[in-house]
Symmetry: C2
């Protein structure tokens, strides 16, 4: 039987990047999509605790079922594994293709990567795919081509679980991409500027807008370097956030 | 001059746990609070990208200003560091006291810890405080006492930055807590059960509800063990999610 591939994203069920992910997956298997009803960019690993969630069937084609869900990307993954597909083995999770980068510390803010990480918790290999172009009319050709290569390799098996990959694709024609670089998450952070406006009643409101600061622009083994130098970046993700180097000194500091 | 302490949480500006955090902080310094207008539990590291954000001044007392913000916990931190307090040095961030545990993998889903982590990105030591009781009428006495001890030690200085602590307090009277245990994040995951209900028009909807599965119940150096054995757990947090052990094998697998 063809492998079962589950797809979600954070740009919502109508995003063009989702169609690219579906095209990739249909080359290799049966596909079930549960994508958010509305855009969920920046939703990180958020789950919905205090609202009821509605699941809507959108369309069926051969080996393809598409649903929309009223929750976050992580809610979509949980709905797949713990409810809709709970009696089936999901062979792969694809999240994306995201409109915009999820490299470096953006992995933490990203709804795309929140969903990919959640998928890996259920024991399925998970691939988050992002293209460094957040425009609605982005060209997904290279991302689709490299996404398919990575999906094909993962489905071929032999890569130990858990497996979660943060894949980012530079904005280049396919034939100008130099290849795939497996690398580490670049250190850095986002600094925001709040744009202040006034509503029609004279009340101030704010828009969040920010810039990424690369804390190690010289490093050549990071995702930022790979992307800036024409490679597709692949960062293997783990979720132990313990800073082991601090356990002994803090044990002394707190007197236990 | 007294140190400046910034406080936020994920249970919202009206939560009782927030008042406990304010009481802790006022023992040591001047306090500014920007807390979410409404409950933001489970909001992880989410930011608000597609809605305008409103800031509301709630009250002033001596060395205390309280604001409510219409965004997520991470939005509150960004509003403090990048706008409201951007010309001042923030000496400490406290997030909490959360109504409910944020131990083990819950660090990833938690709005409380999202905010604490975000605070540490701006170079301030950050402490996320959580009590293992999510009821509205939880007894915060022990959490307040141990929270104050930890805050006092952090403010005393000498702990290298970045510093972000995930502090969880068991549900015990203060004198039955055995002390503070600096430890690592327990491995495990949440598995959900979707409760299905019908709305008045006969449409199905779902509530997310889950249980934590401890993947290493025998381990004695984890936050789960510490909490189950009467200790306050303190996990130092870092945000490099790269799985370094996978870089070489995946480099081979992807043929570069």
């Amino acid at each position: 039987m063809k492998p079962l591939i589950f797809i979600t994203n954070d740009d919502g069920v109508n995003a063009r990047g989702l169609q690219s992910a579906i095209r990739i997956a249909r080359r290799f298997g049966r596909v079930v999509v549960i994508a958010p009803e509305v855009v969920q960019s920046g939703k990180s690993h958020a789950i919905t605790m205090f609202s009821p969630l509605f699941l809507r069937h959108v369309r069926s084609e051969e080996d393809l079922e598409v649903y929309a869900f009223s929750g976050t990307p992580v809610d979509c993954v949980k709905m797949a594994f713990d409810h809709l597909l709970k009696d089936q083995k999901i062979d792969l999770v694809i999240s994306g293709i995201n409109h915009g980068s999820n490299s470096a510390i953006s992995v933490l803010y990203s709804g795309t990567m929140g969903a990919a990480i959640e998928g890996s918790f259920y024991g399925s290999p998970s691939v988050g795919l992002s293209l460094l172009d957040h425009s609605d009319n982005a060209d997904f050709e290279a991302a689709e081509e490299y996404g398919a290569r990575i999906v094909e390799r993962v489905l071929a098996g032999g890569l130990p679980l858990p497996l979660c990959l943060n894949v980012n694709v530079p904005v280049l024609p396919t034939d100008q991409i130099k290849g795939i670089k497996v690398c580490r998450q670049n250190k850095g952070y986002w600094k925001e500027e709040f744009f202040c406006r006034q509503d029609p009643r004279g009340k101030d409101y704010y828009w969040l807008t920010g810039d990424f600061f690369n804390a190690e622009p010289e490093a050549t083994d990071t995702d930022e370097w790979a992307l800036a130098n024409g490679y597709v970046s692949v960062v293997p993700i783990q979720v132990d956030m313990t800073d082991y180097s601090r356990i002994d000194p803090l044990t002394d500091a707190f007197g236990n």
